[in-house]
């Protein structure tokens, strides 16, 4: 095998990798969910397992759009109570300062740690990576890549789980 052919093969092998990189950059975040079999004190129902992840990820989308467009009304679909109030306050502050921030989540590593006995709250930890870009009156101030851990408590509403506590930190 000649060095040229090795280089060529290496480059060819890199194509799908690069494609995946581009695709992931352009599309949905990668999500890893830890098994929920040993979550307590209440076992997580099969239907709840899928809906909780779906609704939590949807909440990230809602938050990103709401903070990016400074529209607190977009929070209603996914947030409730404390989390909604705090995010709405942030949006109001941003709007008054002429600032907008874009959150682009790239990966989530989710672990459900608590499901309350009566089924009225579920807590999950999310090791998340995202880019946050800040714009001041439409002009980009800067972008930072963040990796942190979020604690979220979700509670059921009529049609979906909504985020009630949303807080990062360890």
């Amino acid at each position: 095998m000649t060095p040229t052919s090795v280089a060529r093969k290496t480059l060819l092998a890199a194509v799908p990798l690069l494609a995946a990189l581009f695709l992931s950059a352009a599309g949905q975040p990668t999500v890893h969910v830890a098994p929920m079999d040993s979550v307590g004190p209440r076992p997580v129902e099969q239907q709840t397992r899928s809906s909780i992840v779906r609704d939590y990820l949807q909440a990230w989308q809602s938050m990103g759009t709401a903070l990016g467009e400074n529209r607190p009304d977009l929070l209603d679909a996914s947030f409730v109570g404390l989390a909604k109030d705090k995010l709405a306050d942030t949006i109001r502050e941003q709007r008054s300062l002429g600032i907008a921030s874009s959150y682009r989540d790239q990966s989530h590593d989710l672990q459900v740690v608590f499901y309350s006995p009566e089924g009225l709250s579920i807590q999950l930890l999310d090791t998340v990576e995202y880019d946050v870009e800040v714009r001041d009156h439409g002009k980009t101030v800067g972008t930072q890549h963040v990796r942190t851990r979020y604690v979220a408590v979700l509670t059921p509403t009529e049609s979906r789980w909504k985020v009630r506590v949303f807080q990062s930190g360890s």
Binding site: V80, G81, L82, T155, R164
Partner: protein, 376 residues
Amino acid sequence: MTGSRLLGIILIIATVVLVVMGTIHPNQSGAMIADSRARLIGSASSPQDAVNNLMQQIGRRTWEAAYASLANKGEFTETEFVRDLNGNYGSLRSYANLDGFDSQPLRASGDEAQVRARMRWASVVGIFEDSRDLRVVRNGSQWEVAWPIVREAKVPPQVIPVNYLRWDVVYRGAEDDWGAQDVEAPHVRIIAMHPVDRGGGVVILGEVLNEDVVPAFVTVKASLLGSNGSTLATEDSFDKISHILLPKQVSPFRIDFRNVRLSQVDSVRIQPSANLVAASADPVIGIEGQKLTPLPDSSLTGSLVNQSGQVVNVAHVIGTFYDNKGQIVWVADQYPSRALLPQTPVPFTISLPADVSNKVGSYRVVASTYSSSRFQ
């Protein structure tokens, strides 16, 4: 000119002939229900004609003409006649229209005949039948019906003590206050469930118990699951259940699935749902004189006695039928057409399928009621 006008004369005559044809032999199947029954009321030259004429008038609610045609109108007033047919106290009859009838001669002599008239009334909760054996008498060349009046019972003046038991519910309100308590939904439990194949479909029969200390508004939904876990169909008990259950009350339920065969069904998922509801423990309905009638008219008959002082406009009786092993074999219901006045028995008849009739070892009947404040 005469020849030139011939066409006009022909057309006019043809129009008149066509109108006469359309009136003597009307076919109004595309018209509204009440209109489609309109017929020329001919002379009552036979007992059956007299009955048919009367039924048409009843169907079209031309009460005055119907009453005028009766042989025994001296025995009751037109109001009593109308109340007999059209109900009173907001009963089911007052929600009903004559949907059809048939008449069957029972016996006849020169001056008198007996004809059975079966009237099918369409009410808001379904069809009910009213069968009357009518005496028809000759009056000159005409026949007249002697109407067997069923007078609305008159409740004697009395004082009925009332000590209402009533539950009201106050909810927390719509504001979001996490952790603040709200009242708990009532706990209900399915205590029996039995799917059967019937009439090209599947029928789920069962009983549900309110095991709580508060009233529950109960609905039972069932899903039939196929062998791969897919849902074949979902239906709910609709009106084949008593929706309001007081503490420790049991209601049967029946859920009908059309076009599904039991052989296709791997499992059944029953989802009872219960909500808190404001309710009253009154009225108390006694179900007395229950009796199974064997084939060919297999049915369960009895009478409802309103033990309270409040008028019940519409009652609903639901019967649960068990075999000798205590398993439910059928659930059937009926809406008696008359209002339940205090302490006044009102008969009911729950029809049973012939094949079920043989299997019935015991039965249980529950009654639910509707009282509108408009008729109190």
